[in-house]
Symmetry: C2
Subunit: 195 residues, 2 copies
């Protein structure tokens, strides 16, 4: 089990068949996740392909996460909370400046993703729309979006299985509105396919 | 006025301040649009940033289309039909193979975008989730997506204003289900800011 401190990030590689478990031990905390093909970083997680193939805006247990090359990157084996978002881009410095008029430095998932992924030659422009684990984005049939406090408790977890060798970027999200106003750590664990 | 033949595509460049008008003269036809910064193709249209900043799944008159660098690429000045989709990736060969079990060659927006954009050094992997003009994607509050026949008549149009110099990729969409079962042409017109 590894810990991602509040408002920070991590990266790792996992092999096809490995399982990745993500939890927020104090609850009410979002984790942004991006995926790249370990052998060719130009293949990466795609919200548009995932929503298309899964025919759903909400992605949970039984759904797959697809790449821009229309290949399965992960399967969601378990999801005890059941609410994740795949609509919104990772929070970035501009999120806080444009939406909240914050002109000061503010940690962001975008920065925490690209800094942790730089060692794989992944640059800021390469960061796609993330799969936002535990993020509670509500919407009505007119399309109006609201970002509500996440509903996950400390016991909730999501379990993925890799369908190809992957580079994974993960964060403990830095946006006040996405995390019920306070920031907590994220824990993750890789269960290798040899276990 | 220029015509995009059914199941094909086009590309063009427009300058900041230029306006782009898109119509389907026979109605009931979708056009996929992607945008790149003309001076740096690594900046491109982002569904995640647009849905985030506009706080809506449905993007229409008065909304902006944003880039992955959190900058405004276009403003929608007019939209007489009022239904566009920014959830689903452009149809690709895999769309027809995976979702419709079609093993034969099938024209696709993905191919029509990357072939028309190749002259700007834009490759297949660079194609993002497109802004799907006139596409009638319906969804419920459980997130279930359905692709319904488009509602645009031959008189409907959408008018964009460029907020930076842009490379634009446009298609006459090739997916049966997105276009009421038949394929029609798309027309577009650039109104330069000097006019």
């Amino acid at each position: 089990m590894e810990t991602i401190a509040k408002q920070s990030g991590a990266s790792l590689t996992i092999k096809k068949g490995d399982r990745l478990k993500v939890t927020a031990p104090k609850g009410e905390q979002v984790s942004d996740m991006v995926l790249f093909n370990k052998n060719d970083i130009r293949e990466k997680i795609s919200s548009g392909k995932t929503l298309d193939f899964e025919e759903s805006i909400l992605i949970s247990k039984g759904n797959f996460l697809w790449s821009n090359r229309s290949r399965k990157m992960m399967e969601i084996l378990e999801d005890t909370n059941g609410r994740n978002d795949f609509l919104l881009a990772p929070c970035s410095p501009e999120t806080f400046e444009i939406m909240y008029n914050n002109k000061e430095y503010h940690p962001s998932c975008f920065e925490n993703l690209y800094t942790n992924l730089a060692k794989y030659d992944i640059t800021p422009d390469d960061i796609p729309t993330a799969f936002n684990i535990f993020m509670n984005v509500q919407f009505d049939t007119d399309g109006k979006i609201s970002v509500d406090p996440p509903l996950n408790s400390g016991q909730d977890y999501i379990l993925f299985e890799a369908k190809m060798d992957l580079i994974v970027g993960l964060t403990a999200c830095s946006a006040e509105d996405s995390n019920g106003g306070t920031f907590k750590e994220i824990e993750f664990e890789v269960l290798t396919s040899n276990q």
